[in-house]
Symmetry: C2
Subunit: 358 residues, 2 copies
Amino acid sequence: MLVKTKNRKCILKIETIKWDKGAVKIIDQTKLPQKLIYVRCVTVKQVWDAIRILKVRGAPAIGAAAALGVVLGISKKRFSSFNDLRKEVDKLVKYLASARPTAVNLFWALERMKSVVLKNKLDDIKEITQKLIAEASAIIDEDKRTCRKMAQNAQVLIKKNDRILTYCNAGILATVDYGTALGCIYRANELKKNVKVYSCETRPLLQGARLTCWELNKKGVDVTLICDSMAGYLMQQKKIDKIFIGADRIAANGDAANKIGSYSVSVLANFHKIPFYVAAPLSTFDVSLKDGNQIPIEQRSKSEVSELFFKRSITAKGVDVYNPAFDVVPAKLISGIVTEAGVITPPFPKKIARLFKS
Amino acid sequence: MLVKTKNRKCILKIETIKWDKGAVKIIDQTKLPQKLIYVRCVTVKQVWDAIRILKVRGAPAIGAAAALGVVLGISKKRFSSFNDLRKEVDKLVKYLASARPTAVNLFWALERMKSVVLKNKLDDIKEITQKLIAEASAIIDEDKRTCRKMAQNAQVLIKKNDRILTYCNAGILATVDYGTALGCIYRANELKKNVKVYSCETRPLLQGARLTCWELNKKGVDVTLICDSMAGYLMQQKKIDKIFIGADRIAANGDAANKIGSYSVSVLANFHKIPFYVAAPLSTFDVSLKDGNQIPIEQRSKSEVSELFFKRSITAKGVDVYNPAFDVVPAKLISGIVTEAGVITPPFPKKIARLFKS
């Protein structure tokens, strides 16, 4: 079922992802900003595709989508033994984990689902199924609370009239609700800090132009769209007070993978002595990785670059294209990492380790 | 008259601009790479429009186009006195100079045309007209020779197997022939240096994707298209050995205005200790300006950003857009300026002054 909503209508509630009567209901983000279309994924394959082609994207949102994907998968079947259920969950986890490689929240959420099965092997199958549903639900609820906490924690960093540059989309559409980096901005807005946002368009897939501008605009935040190439010029002109971005995976030393281009922005910010903040929940940390070099960087289709977003070629036939989807901001260029547990400041390694010691 | 050429046909000769039987004949660069279309401008207004909407662009090319525009203007009229002719040339110069504000070659070429009139006021009108035609022709011929000289002078900077990043288009299409920054690469290619080029797409108007990739590809140079946001990542991955860009105006201290985004690339190059070279003829220098702060930066239509190149909106209605068309690379981030008089190395001010002392 597709629900179309007119573009100009004021959207009070943007529901990135939710469980809806036996289906994973998401906003098809590839259609924004032209159309706000909700899509109901009724098969696990549809969830996988939605993650793969970025109908749903953003590290926390794809974690939530994958958890609901597991629920969807097991809801379709009857299991005669614990082993049957465990095998099916393992299969679903492996399949959904293959949708995209960089954002660790995907694997984190799937691991949580897998653990529910293993931890409750003495329960009967119906109970385990209920616990899986409860776990997916918890992932979603925690994400909502986490974003609010991050947003509040970030307020020590945001002053009245700040002009903030952001990159890609780390907003409502990247999470279940409220956002990571944009959540910090929404909270500042609620506190009447009158912040102004510059949104880099974020080629190749234009998440900044299409998604960030759309949601900030809907929520009444002052936003100006720029091309990615203009960020340096704006900093040079002293039009930017600080940077807030999200992250897809943060290593033990604080290196943070995020949408391709984030690294350039961090170098530019460093050169202009502008604070560069990353906002991400603890579920985005992967402390099993020593540093950012170990984070796998997704390579995506060349046509995303050569055909823009609208299937029209912008270059000559025969021209090669390179399309890495992420890069890594080295910890030394990060001024602070906003999490639900507070703002972590450099040097990061020991402080991150402390948060994850078990 | 429009001449259409199939995209896939091998183009042996790309003629950016020339005088063609009473018309200024140019390639309509807004149609590339899909179509190679030559347009004949038969009115001065058509020449002005062609410069304004970037049918012809690139500092040296618009200088040549404007000079031919003056020839076109006077060829339409009969003059009864020197004053009549002088007034008409002044009017044409003023009009054509209003097409775009940043590239100084436009004003430089028009000033040359104006000087011809003033220097020859004792000649009869027919002779002055002939001298104006000869001056436009000289501007064109000099541009061709200048590009070849620059290209040769740059060879001390280019090693075998160099991987060169370029930005926007400083090639055949930006000049009468051969190019500035890309001319250096063509010469390296002729010398079998096996260089590899990364071309930034250059948002908003995609001159890198559309024009640079097209002409390098036609000329058999190995070129890979990237989004502007990927330049930093490539440098971090040690995939770039040096940068070559063109310029629209270079101040007395070496500050160089070039397509928006050039500044970001220069900061990134500096951070990664990668040499950053500007290739530009002496006609691109404006030694009347102390530094880059005095270079006027053109602001262009917001729709160039918000509607991509193909009139399809990429952002929500009501979102503001900022669209400066150039920025300035500070002299301190430039490793060398390649000119027809040789490669100028830092510190620039005295060396530039020496080239322009009269």
